[in-house]
Amino acid sequence: MTETQTTAEAVTTTRPTLLEARDLHVEFSSRGRRARAVDGVNLAIGEGEIVALVGESGCGKTTLARTLLGLERPTSGEVRYDGNPLTYTSKALKTYRRQVQLVLQDPTGSLNPRHTVYEAVAEGPRIHGLPDEQDLVSKALSHAGLRPPDRFFLRYPHELSGGQRQRVVIAGALALNPKVLIADEPVASLDASVRGEILALLLRLRDELGLSALVVTHDLGLAWNIADRVAVMYLGRIVESGPVEQVLTAPRHPYTQALMSVLPESPERVVLTGEPPDPTRIPGGCRFHARCQVLASGKAAEAGVHTRCRTEPLPILPATPEAQAACYYAETTTP
């Protein structure tokens, strides 16, 4: 796995940016409490690049994905596509939808149970009034690995297996010929045997169609398998990002280290203590400091950064392809 490291790095740095989040904030308020689900995120997805967004449940990764899709409006900051900021007029959004498409975790829920496969895949082209609908549907189904496509036209979702359903969902996204696929836990609800197939499909689509993808997941193994770059999110902010080999083999942020340590190969396990993260009460200083194992073990104090960890807010990481971590301790250990 060190072999590919240099090549992957070289590729990521030269890619022009396609989809970008700039200083993105998304807040929700309910019953007087403000939840900062996305609290300052810079993230860029290059052409033909697969980026994995990793983090535990409730860290804001799904909200970030929805905001990138234009389904949620940012409180501040902007989503940029192909260099232009996204505007939220219905016409601009409709045009945007042809470029950026969505694949969700649960294929059963993602398909209208009363629509046939053909209707599901043809919906996108119909909305946008694309010509040669049947041709588009056939091509999309073939690309998604459902062959021969016409044998699937009149099937209902409940007649298909989970993997086939997810392929139909992907075909529905592909029918619009998008440039970016945003996949929110695309294989989490599938059997292990089917997972590999769907992941291989995503990789093949990248190679054949030049598709970029943002894969939202809590599964580091999945990120390792398909992503070029990985961004680790904690409590509304990206805490570490970079080429997948670098971040996952030599994690610098204590949170990433803790995530990695639960993998079976890991020599020692880091168990995070303290309260689970709550986006309505983001701690001051480093937002991870209350649960940070490096701070708790006294290593941060040895390095002399412990007061900064507790009191001084960290700057928001820029959207660079190089490896970076938002951590005072990491800064002292690596020059």
Partner: protein
């Protein structure tokens, strides 16, 4: 996590039992099996109807005499005439035989065939309860859709609150209230609508007659709708809420479908399924009329006929009307099953 991903990605072939597509034969078979169940239910109703009504207190012969002095001999004669002197089992066998020949017998009180009495009364009942059902269903579905789509909005809170308040009001109380306020007139409010019967004594012909009947229908219809539309609203609202939270709604939005189109193409058709079932079940009760409302507004329908039959008790008339009501409920339930089967592909292949 270091295992490299196998690049071999087989194309998925269409195979397996899904090739045997459910056909119209499947639906027919399903309908026939449901019809079989319905026939069994009707047979049980036949038995129940006969015996349960004979448990009612009151001697029909004495009540029909209405206080006139009759000698025991006369009463016996009357009993013999009505066939009430025979053993219960013989009466029952006669009843079953007659019913199978579609002969519902002769009313004790009106001394006319029950089937003729029903024929006279079914028109006004269908007119009143049918109109009420159509209005209640439309109102409920419309408000339920809006309330569910804008969950938690002012419209949602107000329409849900009002409908539930009306739902919990006793029918007779609301009927009397409406009659007093809009029928009789109270304070500055004049008498706006007639509240007795189905037509005026001096009703004109032609279009004028239609208007006359329509104005007689206003108050009973209003009462009927007010007390029942909440159930359509609540069912529609909750099933729409369920659909709206489904992922396919998000997916459709992400494909560029406008909000109102998402509602029209995806959410509402799917949310209508449970409502359709409910409506079909309620159609069955349309025939039974609304006993309370018909009684309050002296509407000449089946409900009133049934009420009068219980007072006597007029066994044959009660059996006839009760059979009609239960059979129509059972038939409509069966139809609801079949319609659901046709509408929902998931049920079809289950």
């Amino acid at each position: 996590m270091t295992t490299p991903l196998e690049s071999a990605e087989p194309a998925v072939q269409a195979a397996g039992p899904a090739d045997e597509r459910p056909t119209s034969r499947g639906t027919l078979q399903y309908a026939l099996s449901k019809a079989g169940g319905a026939l069994f239910s009707i047979a049980m109703v036949l038995v129940g109807t006969f015996f349960v009504f004979r448990l009612l207190p009151g001697d029909p012969v004495r009540n029909l005499a209405q206080g006139r002095n009759m000698t025991p001999d006369q009463l016996d004669l009357e009993r013999r005439r009505l066939g009430l002197d025979k053993p219960l089992i013989d009466q029952f066998l006669n009843f079953v035989g007659d019913t199978l020949r579609l002969d519902l017998g002769t009313s004790y009180e009106y001394k006319r065939p029950v089937i003729d009495l029903i024929g006279e009364r079914i028109g006004p009942t269908l007119l009143l309860t049918g109109t009420g059902l159509v209005i209640a269903v439309s109102l409920g579905i419309w408000q339920g859709t809006r309330a569910g789509w804008r969950h938690g909005s002012r419209f949602d809170r107000v329409s849900t609150g009002v409908s539930l308040l009306l739902w919990s009001v006793p029918t007779f109380w609301l009927g009397l209230l409406l009659m007093m306020v809009f029928g009789v007139g109270i304070g500055p409010i004049p008498s706006l609508f007639p509240f007795r019967g189905i037509e005026s004594v001096d009703a004109p012909d032609g279009f004028g007659y239609v208007l006359d009947v329509a104005s007689h229908m206003v108050l009973p219809c209003l009462t009927l709708v007010a007390v029942v539309y909440a159930q359509y609203l609540m069912v529609m609202r909750s099933s729409l809420l369920e659909e709206v939270s489904q992922d396919y709604v998000t997916v459709a939005r992400a494909k560029g479908l406008r909000d109102d189109e998402v509602r029209r193409r995806h959410a509402v058709p799917n949310a209508l399924l449970p409502t359709v079932t409910l409506v079909f079940m309620r159609i069955g009760f349309v025939v039974g009329g609304a006993v309370t409302v018909e009684y309050i507004y002296t509407w000449p329908g089946l409900g009133q006929l049934f009420y009068r039959a219980i007072e006597v008790p007029d066994f044959t008339l009660m059996q006839g009307t009760f059979m009609l009501i239960t059979v129509s409920v059972i038939v409509m339930n069966t139809l609801a099953d079949v319609v659901y089967h046709l509408l929902d592909p998931r049920v079809r292949s289950a």
